[in-house]
C-alpha cells in the first residue's frame, strides 16, 4: 500500500524528517506516536502533498506509484485521505455541496461521470446513520461554527464518503471528550476493511484503546526510533516519552 524509504524533509533550511522508513500493507492500522514537535504532522502533510516543504531525499510509493510526482488532488483521487488536526472553515459552502464536488472531481480523475444525485444522497444518508451524525450537519457550512468534536466527526464523515485506501488521521483525538472520542473511533473501526489501511497519528495512547493498531511506531527527532505491537503504546504510556529520550542519549 504505502512504502516510504529514507525520507528526508526540511522547511526553511531546518531538517524535520531525517530518514523515515515505513511500510504499510493493505488492511493494517499503524499508529505513529511521539512527543510534540518530532515531525508527526509534517509526515502527514508530506504524504498528502502539501508543497511548503523541501523533500531533500527519499521516496514515497503508494500502490506502486511515485507520490512525490503527483499533485495534492491527484493523490487524494488515488485514495489518500488526511483527517486534519485543525479542520478548515469554508464559509457558505455546505457539507453536501463540498462532498458532492469532491466525489465528482475524484470520479472525473478516474474517467467516471458525476455520481447521480439520488445515489449521492442515499450515500450521505447511509454514512450519516453509520456515524451517528445529525441530519442537519450536512446543511451547515463546512466546519463553520463547529465545536471541536463536530469538526473531527465531520472529518470521519468525509472519510466515510470518500472511501480512501489510506486514511491518515492527524491527532484526531486532540480536543475530544471521551464520548466524542468513542464516536470517532467507532466510525474508524466500522470503516476498517481488508483492503484499506490507516495511519493514526497521536500523542496519547488513549485513542489506541479504541482503535487497536497492528503496529506502533515511535517518532522521535525526525526518525522512527522504535516499532512494535500495540503493547509498545502501553509501555510508552507507562514510562513516558522521557524513557525514549533517555535511551536515545
Amino acid at each position: 500500500m504505502l512504502s516510504i524509504k529514507n525520507l528526508r524533509v526540511s522547511i526553511s533550511g531546518k531538517e524535520i524528517l531525517r530518514g523515515i522508513n515505513l511500510e504499510v500493507k493493505p488492511g493494517e492500522v499503524h499508529a505513529i506516536m511521539g512527543p510534540n514537535g518530532t515531525g508527526k504532522s509534517t509526515l502527514a502533510s508530506v504524504i498528502s502533498g502539501r508543497d511548503i516543504y523541501d523533500i531533500t531525499e527519499g521516496e514515497i510509493i503508494f500502490k506502486g506509484k511515485n507520490l512525490l510526482e503527483m499533485s495534492i488532488e491527484d493523490r487524494a483521487s488515488e485514495g489518500i485521505f488526511l483527517g486534519f488536526q485543525y479542520p478548515v472553515e469554508i464559509p457558505g459552502v455546505s457539507i453536501t455541496n463540498f462532498m458532492r464536488t469532491a466525489i465528482n472531481e475524484q470520479r472525473k480523475y478516474h474517467g467516471l461521470d458525476p455520481m447521480p444525485a439520488s445515489e449521492f444522497l442515499a450515500k450521505m444518508e447511509e454514512k450519516k446513520q453509520m456515524l451517528e451524525i445529525q441530519a442537519k450537519l450536512a446543511n451547515r457550512s463546512v466546519n463553520e461554527g463547529f465545536s471541536g468534536g463536530e469538526k473531527k466527526k465531520n472529518e470521519i464523515f468525509q472519510m466515510a464518503m470518500l472511501d480512501p485506501d489510506l486514511a491518515i488521521l492527524d491527532e484526531t483525538d486532540s480536543g475530544l471528550d471521551i464520548d466524542a472520542l468513542k464516536i470517532v473511533a467507532n466510525g474508524v473501526n466500522k470503516l476498517r476493511k481488508p483492503d484499506n489501511s490507516f495511519l493514526v497519528i497521536t500523542h496519547y495512547q488513549r485513542l489506541l484503546d479504541y482503535i487497536v493498531p497492528d503496529i506502533v511506531h515511535v517518532l522521535f527527532d525526525g526518525r522512527i526510533v522504535r516499532s512494535g505491537g500495540k503493547e509498545l503504546a502501553v509501555e510508552l504510556e507507562e514510562k513516558g516519552y522521557e524513557w525514549i529520550k533517555a535511551e536515545m542519549d
Partner: protein, 482 residues
C-alpha cells in the same frame, strides 16, 4: 512541486469570455457622432411625440454644459463622444407580428446566448424582452400578461401604446440632469423595457430583458421604466453580453423603478458585458444610473446584482425611501479580474418614517483589477425610527489587485440606527490545501469558495438566474489563488 502562487492565480483567472461572438446582421445606423441632429434622428426613427423630442433635446442641452464625473476610483482614456454611433438597429423589412418574421440570424444569436425567444419559455416561467443594440427585437408572452392588465413591452412600443404613463413617470426618479451619463442617456436613449403592473396584481411570471451589444463602435443607451401600482408585485431580471472587440464601447443606461403603496419590485441583474482581454484592451465602459423610489407607504424595492463583466463599472442602484415603513435592499456581488475596474455600491435615502434598508456587498478582486464599494446612507430629519444595516466584504485573490470601501453616512435625526460592517479577506492556503486534499482541483476550489462567499447574495436571485450566476462566478475567476 513548488508552485508560484501568482502563476496559479494566472492560470485560474484566465477564463475565456464565452459570449464574444459577433452576428453579421444588416444594420440601420445613425451617422456617427452626437449633435442635435442625432437626437432628432433617433426621435424621428421612433416616431416619437413632440414632448419626448423636447425632453431629449432639453437633456442634450444640459449634457453639453456638464462635465464627466471624476470622483470614482477608476481610470480610463478620455471618451470621444463623437466617435460613437448613437443608433444601430437590425434592419427590418416590415412590422413583426410573430416570431416567424424575426430574422433567423437574430433568433440564432439569442439561442447561442441561451435565451429562447420562442414561447416555450413558458415552461420556465420567464417572459423575455430581447434588446439588440438600439432596439427591442422581440418581447415574448405579451398576450398572456395583457390578460392581467400587465404591460410588458419595449420602451419604444410603450411610447406609442401608453404615452400618458410614460410621460407621467419618465425622469421622475432619475431627472435628466441627475448626472453626466444620465443626461447623455436622456438625450439619446434608444430602447429598453417598459413594465407596468396594475393595482393589486401579482405578476405570475418572471419578467426579463436581455441586452446585447452587437454592432461595432456603438453605444448602448437603454432606458427601463418599471411601475408597480398599489399592492402589486413583480420580479424582473436583466442580463447583458457583448462581442469581444479591441476598442472600448460605451454603455450608459438608466433604470427607473416606481413602487406605489404596498407594491414590491425585485430587480435582478447579471451583468456580463465583455470585460476586455487579459491585457486590459477593449471591453465595455458601463456607466449606469439605476434608482427606485418607494413612493407609497409599505412599499419595497430590492436590487440584486451580479457584476462580472465590463472593463469599467460605475453603478449605484439606489432606493429613495419616501413612503413610511418602506423597505430598500441592495445585494451585490462584483467580480473584477485582469484589468477590470469597478466602482459600485448603493444609495439609500431615507425620507419616510420607520423605513428600513439593507446593503450587502461582496467584492471579489483578482488579477490587477480594482474593486471599490461606494455607498451613501442618508437619514433625513423626517425619517424617524429608521434603520440601515450595511455589510461590505472584500475578497482578494492574489496580491496585485485592490479593494476599497467608501461608505458615506449622513444622519439628521436621533432615532435612526445605521450600522456598517466591513471585512477584507483572502482565500487562505489552508483552505485550498483542505479542498485539494479532498480531490478538488485548485480551480474548482476557488469556484466553490467564491460561491460560498457570495451565497448570501446569490440566494436572493430567482432560480433561473442563480444557476447561471454561480457558473459565471467560477468562469470569471477561473484560476485565482490568494
Amino acid at each position: 512541486m513548488e508552485k508560484d502562487p501568482n502563476n496559479i492565480l494566472d492560470e485560474v483567472t484566465q477564463g475565456e469570455y464565452k459570449y464574444g461572438f459577433y452576428t453579421d446582421i444588416e444594420m440601420d445606423t445613425a451617422p456617427m457622432g452626437l449633435s442635435e441632429d442625432t437626437v432628432r434622428f433617433i426621435s424621428a426613427k421612433k416616431n416619437e411625440p413632440e414632448w419626448l423630442l423636447q425632453y431629449r433635446l432639453d437633456a442634450y442641452r444640459k449634457w453639453l454644459v456638464m462635465t464627466e464625473p471624476t470622483w470614482a476610483h477608476i481610470h480610463h482614456a478620455p471618451i470621444n463622444y463623437q466617435d460613437i454611433f448613437y443608433y444601430a438597429a437590425p434592419k427590418r423589412k416590415k412590422e413583426l407580428t410573430n416570431l416567424d418574421e424575426v430574422d433567423p440570424e437574430l433568433i440564432e444569436t439569442f439561442n447561442k446566448l441561451g435565451i429562447s425567444l420562442e414561447e416555450q419559455k413558458r415552461l420556465t416561467g420567464v417572459a423575455v424582452d430581447a434588446v439588440i443594440d438600439s432596439v427591442s427585437v422581440k418581447t415574448t408572452f405579451t398576450e398572456t400578461l395583457e390578460k392581467q392588465g400587465i404591460i410588458f413591452c419595449s420602451f419604444s412600443e410603450a411610447v406609442q401604446k401608453v404615452p400618458e404613463l410614460v410621460k407621467q413617470y419618465l425622469g421622475t426618479v432619475v431627472p435628466s440632469d441627475d448626472n453626466y451619463f444620465a443626461a447623455l442617456n436622456s438625450a439619446v436613449f434608444s430602447d429598453g423595457s417598459f413594465c407596468y403592473i396594475p393595482k393589486g396584481v401579482r405578476c405570475p411570471i418572471e419578467l426579463s430583458t436581455y441586452f446585447r451589444i452587437n454592432a461595432a463602435n456603438t453605444g448602448q443607451f437603454e432606458r427601463t421604466l418599471i411601475i408597480g401600482d398599489e399592492g402589486s408585485y413583480v420580479s424582473y431580471m436583466e442580463g447583458c453580453t457583448a462581442p469581444m472587440r479591441d476598442e472600448n464601447q460605451l454603455h450608459a443606461a438608466i433604470v427607473e423603478i416606481i413602487a406605489l403603496k404596498d407594491a414590491q419590485v425585485k430587480y435582478s441583474t447579471v451583468q456580463n458585458w465583455y470585460p476586455g482581454n487579459k491585457k486590459g484592451e477593449g471591453g465595455i465602459y458601463n456607466f449606469v444610473t439605476k434608482r427606485g423610489i418607494c413612493k407609497g407607504n409599505n412599499s419595497k424595492i430590492s436590487w440584486t446584482q451580479v457584476e462580472t463583466g465590463s472593463a469599467i463599472t460605475w453603478k449605484y442602484p439606489s432606493v429613495v425611501l419616501m413612503g413610511d415603513n418602506s423597505v430598500g435592499e441592495f445585494y451585490s456581488v462584483a467580480v473584477t479580474n485582469n484589468f477590470q475596474q469597478a466602482d459600485t455600491g448603493s444609495k439609500m435615502i431615507h425620507l419616510g418614517k420607520n423605513t428600513k434598508s439593507t446593503i450587502i456587498s461582496k467584492g471579489i478582486s483578482a488579477g490587477q483589477s480594482s474593486n471599490s464599494y461606494r455607498g451613501l446612507v442618508k437619514m433625513t430629519k423626517r425619517a424617524e425610527n429608521s434603520r440601515n444595516f450595511s455589510q461590505c466584504d472584500s475578497l482578494l485573490l492574489g496580491d496585485r489587485c485592490g479593494a476599497h470601501t467608501f461608505p458615506y453616512i449622513k444622519t439628521e435625526n436621533k432615532t435612526s440606527i445605521v450600522e456598517h460592517e466591513a471585512t477584507t479577506s483572502k482565500i487562505s492556503d489552508d483552505q485550498l490545501f483542505y479542498c485539494n486534499q479532498r480531490g478538488i482541483s485548485t480551480e474548482s476550489a476557488i469556484g466553490l469558495i467564491v460561491n460560498g462567499y457570495a451565497r448570501e447574495v446569490l440566494k436572493q436571485l430567482p432560480m433561473e438566474f442563480a444557476v447561471e450566476a454561480q457558473k459565471l462566478l467560477s468562469i470569471s475567476l477561473e484560476g485565482s489563488v490568494g
